[in-house]
Structure formats: C-alpha cells, structure tokens
Symmetry: C2
Subunit: 199 residues, 2 copies
DNA sequence: CTTATAACTTACCGTATGGTAGGTGTCAAA
DNA sequence: TTTGACACCTACCATACGGTAAGTTATAAG
C-alpha cells in the first residue's frame, strides 16, 4: 500500500526496529530489503536517529488516530475507554509490530527519559488519563491512580502481543490458538474489574 | 556481594544488557566497568553469546528459587500463587533489572523461538500453570486458559517495572511516587478478579 | 537548449566491534 | 626447582557500522 519510497522506508524500518531493536538493525539492512543502498535511506532521512524518530512519530500519530473511531459509538465514558483499549489490543494481536516497537522504546528510553521530560508517548498517556477521569467513579481519582489503572490493562495487552510468537514456539501452534481465544474475554473481565475497583 | 570475577562479570553484564540490550552492549563496555579488558571477559565466557546465555540462565534459576520461599506460608494454592506473583512484583519494583532483561528476551527471542521449541523460561511458565491449576476453581481449566490468566498479571507487573523510570521522567518524581503507591493494591485486586473469573 | 532538483549510485573513511594469537605474572602441586 | 594451570594482558585482525563526498540519471520548469 505504501506508494512513495519514503513510506516504504518507514514501513520496513518499523518492522526491523520492532524485530531487532535500534542497535540490532543497520540502515544497510533496511535499504537492502527494498533493493536500495543505505545512501538512498540517508538521502531521505539524514541519519539513522532521524529515521527512528520519524518511525516513532508515525506510530504515535496512528495511535491517536485510533481514538476518534471509537468515540462516536460511546455515550458512556467507560464504554468509550474499553472500546479504545480493545481496539489497541486488536492492533497488537493482528501481528502489528507497533506494540512491539513501543515496548522497546519504553525499555530503551529509560536513561534518556529521566532528563528529557518530553516524550512522544506523553500525549497518548495523558489522553488515557483524561478518559479514565471522565468515568463517574473515577472523577476524583488522582492522575497517579488513573494511570496505574490504565497501566494494568496496557501491560496485559502489550505483554500478550509481545509474547505471542514466543509462546507459539514453546507450546506449539494449537496451544497458542487456544490461548489467543482465551485471552480477550479475560481482558474484558480485567477491564471491568479495574474500572469497578473504585466506588 | 559478588566475590569471584566471574560473578562480577555476570552482575555488570546483567545490568548493561538490561539497560541497553544485547546489541547495544559491547563486551568491552562490560569489562571496562570492572576495570578489566574484554579479553578477560572472553577468557571466562568464551563469547558474547555464551555470556548472555549464562546471564539468562542465572535469572531463570533465581526466579525458580523465589518459589519455595512462599510455599511454606500457604496451604491454599491461590494464596501461594498470589504470594509468589507479589514477590516477583517486589523484585521488579526494587530496581532490579531482571524483569527488564526478561522483557527484552521476550522481544528479541521472537524469531528464534518459533523454531527453537526449547527456552530457558519454559520451566518458569510451566510452574505457573501448575500453580494455577492447583486452585480449586481452575482444576479443569485448559493450559491455555491458565496461561492467559497468569499472563495478565505478569504483563501488568512487568509493564509497571519497565515503565517506572520513563514515567518518572515524564510526570515527575512526586507523581511517580504516588503512582508507585497506587499500583500494588490495584495489582492485588486484579489478581483476585482474575482468580475468581472462573467459577 | 539550459538549468535545477530530486532520487539515487559508487567510492571512500574513521571508528567500533567480536574474536584470535601469543604472551606475562602468580601460585600451587610434584 | 620445575611444571602446569589460571587469570589476566598487549597486539592484531577482519568485518560491519554510520556517515561524507562526489558523481549519474531522470524529470520538469524557464
């Protein structure tokens, strides 16, 4: 679907960064995948770091774009939040490497984040907190409390998405298929429990 | 506390691999931290890959060792499992880099795991499944169901442990301290909800 | 027909990497 | 007093990395 070379670079970079991490991925490997040289990549993005930044920005934008789709279908804030989170889960379980890359960023950002103060995921997290405090039971919850609640669910979702291929390798494909089926209802139950925890 | 040079190597390797990943960490950097050369490291471990393997094996063993400590205090299987998981959470939140490295392994193992079939975390996961199916309500649950349940909690725990420094950077230290306080009770509630989901 | 620009290419460079080869010093057993 | 194992070291090497410099080619505007 990607038409321009630049978009193709972003696609393959996203996939490779997600699979092998920033240091484990060379710009030559990315360019190779498209039958181009690394200089073509450098021509479009200037440096490896800038390419990485562009990949992250695109993911952040796509996550933001997910939100409005669920907004119309929900009068109730709790339903809205649940729909949004389940949509993220869908994205994660559909073999998308965005969740995987997000996880890596969370791991790698560690040292930088302590001084940075600003981060491409901040608006995403702020939005989630807003959505939580819109729920009647949670209106007087602190930012920290709301975030802790959301993190439980995000954690469960991401852990699932990341572990999927590994678990398939360990327990076999059929066992994993059953696992994949058993997960969503349990995730929904987890969400209900987390929401109703406050009263 | 590490007395032998070999153990010191394992300690610093664990810390650096956790912080920067396998590719982001050079064996020279590990040796530097101890005031030695990389050849000293190679003398003890043979290769970077073997060192990495030894680090992972040690973590796996330590996680296994966590289990018996909680066993005595629990007649009830559910209490036992909860105590074990909360102990893992304690380990994770105490600034230990084991959880972080575990997460990385889950991310990196992806491609290898599909063919490998054997993995150092397999006994750890198998143990958890056994602990779940020992709980009365869960005795007739499938392996997949039990695993899905455990994964919710493991996901929440690990996500918390990994995000901690990043969140401190974004929302500030005091906000993070509140978050850290709000998390454990919510985690316990999540556990109760997950356990009682089946009946 | 000329010029400019974008999208690439080949050629090259300095540096860092994992690993090999062949030492040196220490210490304990024979 | 020799021998051998151990824990390191310096010296070196091939490769891969990110990045620069200077082309080449195609396309479109003036």
């Amino acid at each position: 679907m990607a038409t321009t070379t630049r978009e193709q670079f972003l696609d393959t970079a996203e996939a490779l960064f997600a699979a092998r991490g920033f240091y484990g991925t060379s710009i030559a490997a990315i360019a190779d995948e498209l039958g181009l040289t690394k200089q073509a990549l450098l021509h479009h993005f200037g440096s490896k770091e800038k390419l990485y930044g562009d990949v992250l920005r695109r993911i952040s934008d796509q996550f933001e774009a997910l939100r409005p789709e669920t907004e119309a279908a929900a009068e109730e804030p709790a339903v809205h939040l649940k729909a949004y989170l389940m949509q993220i889960f869908q994205t994660a379980s559909n073999g998308s490497n965005q969740t995987r890359l997000l996880m890596r960023e969370l791991l790698d950002n560690n040292e930088r984040a302590e001084t940075a103060g600003e981060w491409f995921l901040k608006p995403f997290l702020n939005n989630l907190v807003t959505m939580v405090t819109a729920i009647p039971n949670w209106q007087d919850a602190s930012k920290a409390e709301a975030l802790a609640m959301v993190y439980q669910i995000l954690g469960a979702i991401n852990y699932f998405g990341i572990s999927a291929p590994t678990l398939t390798g360990i327990f076999g494909k059929t066992a994993h298929a059953r696992f994949e089926q058993a997960f969503p209802p349990q995730l929904e139950r987890l969400f209900e429990a987390a929401i109703s925890a406050r009263q």
